[in-house]
């Protein structure tokens, strides 16, 4: 090899190094950071990618972390409704072929044992299972409420489980009622529904048990088409509304002092893949929008929020792990596997 040839080779090598995005990525602070204030993240869109032929997904609806630290995804792909990852995105296992409308996924630790609650839109049922898919309880359409004449009217989207085992189901694509059952699945009461009063709901897409105030736990319910969360006592008395103008919020997720929610889309750009992620502090004030507008308040009212960066299409749920990483599952987004976002410290 003569000298000129050698230099040509090393030039190419150097060029390759200098232009390689992953090399630049490692340079702290130079890449795109999503979010605001103390909730800022770097995104890894490849985290959840799997062999599509063997482990396909359709809509990735919701995600939870179990007590062993594993990340569990629910998709409406019946080849594998449940996909279980480790935090690095490695596949651990998959199961489930009988949830064609798999939509809501909640985890509850029942006397030391993790159990799952799956809401199935197509089956009009809520199904409680073990972590490996054994069915423990099935809740059919809530005839007892007197609000439903057939199962098709009931399209449950979400559950949350109170520490005493009470099950709350949000009928977010049906009649927008919240239905409360005891741990055995016996009907207790229901509330919400559609209407014009503040206590009513419009697309009650999510529900969560908010125990941030330990002495005063409440339920937070999504009213997505109203771009709001609504707070109720655990027996269904309406308390107040948390407006999130412009944001079609999915379920609220409580982690630490914060409320996290995937925003399916911006109200200003409906059905144009205009989603982002929003984070509210313990006073339910928006402090960060990931790929969305910087939060701004005039008095107590948030200014209209909207997508600013096309990092997501239609985010549908966010899961926060024990190391404060976020995982984002998306609906109708080209069968995208979940993304992981790591906090910027």
């Amino acid at each position: 090899m003569n000298r000129s040839h050698f230099i040509k080779q090393s030039t190419l090598l150097a060029t390759g190094l200098a232009c390689n995005p992953s090399w630049l990525f490692s340079k702290e602070g130079e890449d795109i950071i999503l979010g605001h204030n103390n909730k800022r993240y770097r995104i890894d869109k490849k985290w959840g990618e799997l062999d599509r032929n063997r482990y396909p997904v359709k809509d990735c609806h919701e995600m939870v972390q179990d007590s062993k630290g594993r990340i569990i995804l629910l998709t409406n792909e019946t080849k594998n409704n449940i996909i279980i990852y480790d935090k690095k995105g490695k596949l651990i296992s998959s199961w489930g072929h009988e949830y064609p409308g798999g939509h809501g996924l909640s985890l509850f630790n029942e006397n030391g044992e993790d159990v799952l609650f799956i809401c199935d839109n197509n089956r009009h049922q809520v199904i409680k299972t073990t972590l490996d898919g054994r069915i423990l309880l099935t809740l059919n359409y809530p005839k007892e409420t007197g609000e439903y004449s057939k199962e098709e009217e009931y399209i449950p989207t979400e559950t949350t489980i109170a520490p005493n085992g009470d099950i709350y189901v949000a009928d977010g694509y049906g009649k927008d009622f919240i239905i409360q059952y005891n741990t055995k699945g016996e009907y207790i009461r229901h509330w919400g529904g559609r209407g014009t009063a503040e206590k009513h709901l419009k697309n009650a897409h999510g529900v969560c048990y908010d125990n941030r105030d330990k002495n005063n736990p409440v339920l937070i319910v999504t009213s997505r088409e109203e771009q709001a969360f609504k707070r109720y006592t655990t027996d269904g008395r309406y308390l107040d509304t948390i407006p999130v103008p412009g944001a079609w919020v999915c379920r609220p997720v409580i982690h630490g002092d914060y409320l996290y929610a995937a925003v399916l889309q911006s109200n200003s750009r409906l059905w144009q893949q205009s989603g982002f992620i929003t984070i509210l502090d313990k006073n339910n004030k928006v402090i960060s929008n990931l790929a969305g507008s910087e939060p701004d308040y005039k008095g107590t009212m948030a200014d209209e929020m909207y997508q600013t960066i096309k990092a997501f299409q239609y985010p549908h749920d966010v899961c926060i792990d024990d190391e404060e990483n976020l995982y984002v599952a998306q609906w109708n987004s080209g069968q995208a596997y979940p993304y992981k976002l790591k906090p910027v410290r």
Partner: protein
């Protein structure tokens, strides 16, 4: 040789720095009371994203980095002013362009008679077509009157005979949601000299190619001849069959209208 190596390195390190991929910015938000205005209106552009600037034009041209940076509300006085805004940022691909066309008031309209819209899209009361409200490119906006019948008739009463130069109609187009522009628009007046109605103008709108997204579209039809008339008779033909390229081809289309102006 050493120099060329250095240059190559420099060129590479000055390229924009990407995370794992280059993200595109979303289009800025245009905020205004209505696209319809009396004498003057004000538009705001919102885009609260660090590391970006919004450039805009009012002449219909595509905004570039050399166009003005948005810093505060833009005043609009001219009929058919087109506001275009685009977000730019060194670390991002520029956004798509956000567009709004502003439409100034025309002659005073005394009263209107029109085909009743579909019950699902009734508009915003009897004055919907002349209330200066609307221009929101969303099917859910209450200002739209929706029709799925074959023919829509609108009779405009100007109160007295006035010379008519043109007629402007404001429509929604959202073909994936079955909302098309009318196939044919016909404008007639009651010229005293002629017997019966006199044709002032027509437009034939083609749907042979798909238009994606949801947009406001105006159609301005020039009156030839320009006659004096008190009444104007507007006829809109709704496409009876959606075209072959549409997912629901052969089905009856809709039209949505929210405003009309007589100049």
């Amino acid at each position: 040789m050493r120099n060329s190596l250095l240059i190559l390195l420099l060129v590479c390190s000055f390229r924009p720095v990407y995370s794992q991929e280059l993200f595109q910015l979303a289009p800025p938000l245009l905020k205004y009371p209505s696209v319809f205005f009396e004498n003057k209106t004000v538009a705001e552009i919102k885009f609260a994203q660090e590391g970006t600037t919004v450039h805009y034009t009012l002449n219909g041209q595509e905004p570039t980095l050399t166009d003005p940076v948005y810093t505060g509300p833009v005043s609009i006085t001219q009929n058919l002013t087109i506001l275009k805004a685009k977000a730019f940022g060194a670390a991002f691909l520029p956004s798509e362009t956000a567009v709004a066309t502003f439409i100034k008031n025309g002659k005073r309209i005394k009263s209107l008679k029109y085909t009743l819209p579909h019950a699902a899209y009734p508009g915003n009361g009897e004055q919907t077509l002349i209330d200066n409200l609307g221009g929101v490119a969303q099917t859910g906006s209450k200002n739209w009157m929706g029709y799925q019948c074959d023919t829509v008739s609108i009779i405009v009463d100007l109160g007295k005979r006035k010379k008519v130069n043109s007629v402007l109609l404001h429509f929604l187009q959202s073909e994936s949601a079955w909302i098309f522009l009318p196939e044919i628009i016909r404008i007639e007046g009651d010229n005293r000299k002629a017997t019966g109605l006199q044709l002032l103008g027509t437009a034939q709108l083609k749907t042979d190619k798909e238009t994606t997204g949801t947009h406001c579209r105006y159609q301005q039809i020039k009156a030839i001849p320009k006659i004096k008339t008190r009444q104007l008779y507007i006829t809109l033909l709704v496409p009876k069959e959606m075209p072959a390229w549409h997912a629901a081809k052969g089905q009856h289309a809709w039209i949505f209208i929210d405003e009309l102006k007589i100049y």
